[in-house]
């Protein structure tokens, strides 16, 4: 289960880290109730500031993807059986909308956008 960050990228390191952790959870590589490495050890492995890892973990906690329990660490929550909450739904729409708009501006039609989406889904779930 490798994490890869690009320190010189425009995307902040904590966002890269949070995104990759979410991907690992989505693919099933990390399962519910498993623990993430401690902030200190992941920061040491990546050679980045502990605040950076801490920020990524808190981002995931805010999104209800993990739970930070004092002394036991960051534990993965189980994927909700009832689907996303209204709030999560709104958030996803908010993030998707500009991306879809951009795709249309680039000249993609509905078919193309849907086929990219489905190929990304299989990429994530099939690892």
């Amino acid at each position: 289960m490798f994490i890869q960050i690009e320190p010189t990228s425009e995307i902040p390191i904590y966002t890269q880290l949070a995104n990759q952790l979410i991907e690992l959870i989505a693919s099933g590589a990390i399962k519910a109730s498993e623990a993430l490495p401690s902030v200190r050890s992941l920061a040491a492995d990546l050679g980045v500031n502990m605040h950076t890892v801490n920020k990524a973990y808190h981002e995931l906690e805010k999104k209800n993807i993990i739970e930070i329990i004092p002394k036991s660490g960051a534990i993965i929550n189980s994927i909700s059986a009832n689907g996303p909450t209204d709030m999560q739904m709104d958030l996803i729409k908010l993030h998707l909308k500009p991306l879809i708009a951009e795709s249309i501006v680039y000249g993609m039609d509905k078919e193309q956008i849907l086929s990219i989406t489905s190929s990304i889904i299989s990429e994530i779930t099939e690892g």
Binding site: M1, F2, I3, Q4, I5, E6, P7, T8, L24, I30, L36, P37, S38, R40, S41, L42, A43, A44, D45, L46, G47, V48, N49, M50
Partner: protein, 369 residues
């Protein structure tokens, strides 16, 4: 006797110094990060060869001159020791100078050829590396400490029966050759030094365990296995040092209390045995494990991932030797030129662990004089 001892040590030092470029990961050459794909560059191969051949020849020539000169002039023992030490420092200094020369040349070559400018520079971590880390538990390093405490208590009980002069230094034949006046402090000084070293090694193990498992971005699985082996065997070596030192110091303390305990043969064999165990263990470690586990042989051959290379952290490595990175919470990091760990000088805890104990030991030695 002294001469042959120095002969072995200097030969060992020469071979080790000369071999360093070949004990390292091929992605770090003379302290410079070399991106995957350029590691077999002809100039770099030449640099390594020149370095090794030069150090090896200088070491051998120095050794020959040393042997013939001491044998020809029938020098007294102190002189042989003195010149032997000078020779060791000389070899180390020349290695450092030559390293610096090739460090600058390698940097220049990398810059001029723009190596890795078209590669994505990334850092990679494995989320499971901690649960697979097989470094010895720090508790094991605490085991020898009670032995030292027992010896201190035993020394206190035997205080009245101990001789008036307490040995502080032993010659190459294992016989004491320097003494100090008996006092409650001087009789346990050696045990105090032992206890400090034991605690220091415990701290080193504890903090290296917390330090980062740094992986190679383009050969992840290989470097993961090599890193974990390196961590394991480094902690084994440290444990061996801790145990051997406890045995050696404990033995000397007992011979101080009971003067006829050891007998001259055992007195001579113990420190020699310690020396040889250390030399052999270090050699096996350096050549079988190598820096970062680079000499650990794997059953599979991993294809390097195209288009990525390790993030270039040369900026944090002053002269390619001193790591100063305030952001990295690792207290110890792998050396770039040599086998083993070095300090992250950006982290004050590191200074405390190494320099603190050394100052206390120097203080004890100073008080004994």
């Amino acid at each position: 006797m002294v001469l042959s001892l120095f002969l072995v040590i200097i030969l060992f030092l020469t071979v080790m110094q000369a071999a360093i470029p070949y004990l390292l990961k091929n992605t770090i050459v003379f302290g410079v990060t070399i991106p995957e794909g350029y590691t077999d560059d002809k100039a770099l191969v030449m640099f390594k060869k020149t370095y090794s051949a030069t150090i090896f020849s200088i070491g051998l020539i120095g050794l020959l001159i040393y042997v013939f000169w001491t044998l020809g002039n029938h020098l007294p023992e102190e002189k042989i020791v003195f010149i032997g030490l000078i020779l060791q420092f000389g070899i180390l200094l020349i290695s450092m100078g030559l390293y610096l020369y090739f460090h600058i040349k390698t940097m220049k070559r990398k810059r001029e050829n723009k190596w890795g400018d078209n590669l994505k520079r990334v850092r990679v971590a494995d989320l499971t590396s901690r649960s697979n880390d097989e470094m010895l538990p720090s508790l094991m390093f605490a085991l020898p400490i009670p032995i030292t405490l027992c010896l201190i208590v035993y020394t206190a009980i035997q205080y009245g029966a101990m001789p008036d002069m307490i040995p502080t230094h032993w010659g190459p034949n294992g016989q004491p050759d320097a003494f100090t006046v008996k006092s409650p402090f001087s009789v346990i000084a050696m045990l105090l030094i032992l206890a400090i070293m034991q605690v220091m090694m415990l701290a080193i193990n504890y903090f290296t365990k917390k330090s980062g498992v740094k992986l190679n971005a383009s050969k992840r699985s290989t470097s993961r296995i090599q890193q974990l082996s390196f961590r394991k065997y480094t902690s084994w070596l440290l444990f061996l040092v801790s145990i051997s030192m406890t045995v050696l110091f404990g033995f000397f303390q007992l011979t101080t209390i009971h003067e006829n305990l050891g007998g001259p043969t055992l007195m001579m064999v113990m420190p020699l045995g310690f020396l040889f165990i250390m030399l052999i263990a270090t050699a096996v470690y350096a050549f079988k494990v190598g820096q970062g586990g680079s000499r650990v042989q794997l059953e599979f051959d991993e294809e390097p991932i195209e288009g990525v290379t390790d993030y270039d952290d040369d900026a944090y490595w002053k002269a390619g030797v001193f790591y100063v990175n305030k952001n990295d919470p690792s207290i110890f990091v792998e050396k770039r030129f040599g086998v083993g760990w070095t300090l992250n000088f950006g982290n004050p805890i590191g200074y405390l662990i190494i320099i603190g104990p050394l100052l206390v030991i120097l203080g004890i030695a100073f008080l004994l004089d």
